[in-house]
Every structure is written in structure tokens, then in C-alpha cells.
């Protein structure tokens, strides 16, 4: 489908953010396989990660349709500096390594995934009205699966917050860490204005206010005070290509097979 030359930069910029966000968080989620708190969670989390990877694939496909390259190379071959995911989503699950002595932080996983799923939900609701029809159609499809993700993470969040004791302490620490970089998730990058002007997605600040508005009653129900001022971007702005060594490590691991033979069929 031919599109207006002026729309292409903000549109591709938005798609890279959507695709890269889901891609790296799905990868971090898959690292929990076999390590989740119980077997039902293992099933649930891997299912959610699989869905999320499916969403990334759809967004990469939209980029491929716009002539940005094929889906596999978009997912695997792009360097760290070319990635547009929020930094929060690339951070390791915790100290240690997946294969040995992993000391992953479940509180961090719950908070990161819940806050992200809610932000993604707000984005998808906005994108359902996107002026770029193929994106609006994908958003509708993503939304149907996201419904279950959000339900899942919200349940964990509320239960752990209400559990008291060590759970509460660790959750509060995780919330501090997540909020310190959550501005980066809500950020739409340097072309945010153009995205809104072309009706691709709502204004960045509108989306942010919606997130705060919908989280407020949840925070109140678990006696947690969070304000807009708590949102920061401490570790860097992934939307302009700033990333951590955690992303380098993740990309070299997840692209290992692809790099052995980029022409292999998947």
C-alpha cells in the first residue's frame, strides 16, 4: 500500500518501538521458563511470552510491508544502537545466569509486566483508531490476547501487594526500580508530535495521563502512593538508541542461531 512520504518516518518510528518493546520483553519472559514460582505460572508466563513474541512478529511484518527489510533480519540482525525498545524492558531478570544460579526477581517481573501490559493496553486502544489501517487491524488482534495478560499480571500484583511481609517489601523495591525507568516506556521518541499530527496514535501526554488515571484506583486499593513525579528515565532513553549492556548480552544470545546461518528457514 503506498503511503504519504511525510507519514512514513513517524509511522516506522512507532512500529519499531512497538515491535522492539514486545520482542525484548518476550525474550526476558521466556528466560523464566522452568524458573517461575510454580508450574501453573510456568505455563502461563511462557504462554504470555509466546503471545507477546507473536505481537512483535506482527509489528515487524508491518515494517517489512513498508520496505524496512524482512522480519527475521529486523528481529535478529539489528544492532543495539538501532533498537528502539524502552530500556526498562531490556534489563536482566536478576543476578545470575539462566542456566546456573539464576537469582531472578519475581517481584520485578510482576511489576514490570503489569505496568507494561497496562501501558500497552492503552496504546492498543488508541491504535484501534489509527489512521494507518493495517496498524489499527493489528491492534485489535493484539488487544484480544492482551486482555488475558493484563488480567494475569494485575492479579499477581494485587495479591503480592496485599500479602504483607517480605512480599510487600520486595514489591515496593521493584516498584521503585520500575518507576525510575517507566517514563521511557511511555515515551514515544523524537517523532511523537508527528505521530499524533498524522493520527497514527494519540498524543504522548494523553496516553501517559490515561495510564496514571487507570492505575490510580489500583494503587489506592493496595495503599500505595504514586504520582507523576515518580516517573523517570534514569537508565537512558531507548527511543533514541540509548541502551545498556544487558541488551547487548541478550541480543548476542538470542541471535546466536540466526547468526550461524541467516539464510536458514525458521
Amino acid at each position: 500500500m503506498p503511503i504519504d512520504a511525510k507519514i512514513k518516518p513517524p509511522l516506522t518510528s512507532l512500529l519499531y518501538q512497538l515491535a522492539d518493546d514486545d520482542f525484548i520483553l518476550a525474550y526476558r519472559g521466556s528466560e523464566w521458563l522452568g524458573l517461575a514460582p510454580h508450574i501453573e505460572e510456568d505455563v502461563a508466563f511462557s504462554s504470555i511470552s509466546q503471545d507477546t513474541m507473536g505481537h512483535a512478529a506482527m509489528f515487524y511484518q508491518l515494517l517489512a510491508d513498508l520496505g524496512e527489510g524482512n522480519v527475521d533480519s529486523l528481529a535478529h540482525a539489528r544492532k543495539t544502537s538501532e533498537r528502539r525498545n524502552a530500556v526498562l524492558l531490556e534489563l536482566v531478570n536478576g543476578p545470575g545466569h539462566y542456566l546456573s544460579s539464576a537469582q531472578y526477581d519475581w517481584a520485578f517481573a510482576v511489576v514490570r509486566n503489569y505496568f507494561y501490559a497496562q501501558a500497552k493496553k492503552i496504546r492498543m486502544d488508541s491504535l484501534k483508531n489509527s489512521s494507518y489501517q493495517p496498524l489499527a487491524e493489528v491492534a485489535l488482534k493484539v488487544n484480544m490476547e492482551l486482555y488475558y495478560h493484563l488480567l494475569h499480571w494485575k492479579t499477581w500484583f494485587i495479591q503480592l501487594m496485599q500479602a504483607g511481609g517480605e512480599a510487600r517489601t520486595r514489591m515496593e523495591a521493584a516498584i521503585g526500580r520500575v518507576l525510575a525507568d517507566f517514563e521511557g516506556v511511555l515515551n514515544l521518541g523524537p517523532l511523537a508530535k508527528e505521530m499524533a499530527e498524522h493520527g497514527l496514535i494519540d498524543k504522548e501526554d494523553v496516553l501517559k495521563q490515561r495510564w496514571l488515571f487507570i492505575m490510580k484506583p489500583v494503587f489506592e486499593s493496595v495503599k500505595l502512593a504514586v504520582s507523576e513525579a515518580d516517573l523517570a528515565m534514569k537508565t537512558g532513553n531507548g527511543r533514541i538508541g540509548e541502551h545498556t549492556a544487558d541488551l547487548d548480552d541478550a541480543l548476542s544470545t538470542l541471535s546466536e542461531v540466526y547468526n550461524i546461518n541467516p539464510a536458514a528457514s525458521w
Partner: protein, 165 residues
């Protein structure tokens, strides 16, 4: 025109032979995955709706569709496309499909979702409504795990998915 009708019927029959790779009682037609069949001379285009996007069975389904249509020996060009629009919803499963799912031991997707978002599933083995949800997520993206307190069997149910969510 009549020729086209016969051709379409043949294609649909062939597609009925393509089963869900993990539930071999139900065809992709009864799952509601077939959105469009386009026949033009010697070529056929099948448009399919994936149930869940991350479903790893999609490649297998595509190959099986191509295989079945090749077997029919009618077409020179066979093309299979996955499209997201309209999105697949669980109410696309046909009445036959619902029976076939039950035969396999999987409860069909609940038809009605209440305003509270709660849904109820009857046991596919004994029909009891006395069931509990063990895990919203199951062995595949489209299924949940439940337990029947009447006949004491664990079972799976196809998740309800709707655009209203």
C-alpha cells in the same frame, strides 16, 4: 458458474481434511479459520485467520493445506495467506466444531461472556457445571486448564476471545 461451485466444494472438502495439528478431531474449517477461498482458473488462494498470533502450528497448517490441495490435483498454483483482519474470535467455531472439540476432551469456548467478564465452562466428560479454573493459560495459547469437581477430571477449554475485550 456451476463449474466454479463444484470447484469450491472440492476445495472446502479438501480443507475439511486439514486438522488442527494438536487436536486431530477438528478441521480448520470447523475452527473458523477459513476466511476466504478464491478460485481463478488454475490457481487458488486460501485466506486463513490465525487463532493466536504466536501459534507455532501456523507453518504446519499452511503446509498441510498446500498438501491437501495438491492431492486434489486441480490447481497449478496454490497460495495460503494468513491475515489478521477480521480477527479470529472463538464464536467462529462451528456447531460441528464444538462437538468435535468435546469428543477430544476439550470444552468448547463459552458462548456468552457475562458483564463481569466471568465465564463458565461445563465439563466435556460428564457435563457437570461444577468446575473450577486451574489456569487461564494452558498447553497452547488458545486453551485454559480447568478441573471438574464432579467427575474429578482435569480438562482443557478453548478460551473465549472476542473483539469486545
Amino acid at each position: 458458474m456451476e463449474q466454479d461451485q463444484i470447484l469450491l466444494k472440492n476445495v472446502l472438502e479438501a480443507l475439511h481434511n486439514v486438522k488442527d495439528p494438536e487436536i486431530d478431531t477438528i478441521s480448520i474449517v470447523d475452527l473458523g479459520m477459513v476466511e476466504q477461498i478464491k478460485v481463478e482458473g488454475q490457481s487458488v488462494l486460501i485466506k486463513l485467520l490465525p487463532t493466536f498470533m504466536g501459534c507455532p502450528a501456523l507453518d504446519i497448517i499452511q503446509k498441510n493445506v498446500e498438501g491437501e490441495l495438491r492431492k486434489a490435483g486441480i490447481f497449478e498454483k496454490i497460495e495460503v495467506q494468513f491475515i489478521y483482519h477480521p480477527p479470529w474470535t472463538s464464536d467462529r467455531v462451528t456447531e460441528t466444531g464444538r462437538i468435535k472439540l468435546k469428543e477430544f476432551g476439550i470444552a468448547p469456548p463459552p458462548k456468552f461472556i457475562s458483564e463481569t467478564g466471568e465465564w463458565h465452562v461445563d465439563c466435556p466428560f460428564c457435563g457437570s457445571a461444577y468446575t473450577t479454573m486451574d489456569n487461564l493459560f494452558g498447553p497452547t495459547a488458545c486453551r485454559s486448564i480447568l478441573y471438574c469437581k464432579s467427575c474429578k477430571n482435569p480438562f482443557e477449554a478453548m478460551k473465549p476471545v472476542s473483539t469486545m475485550m
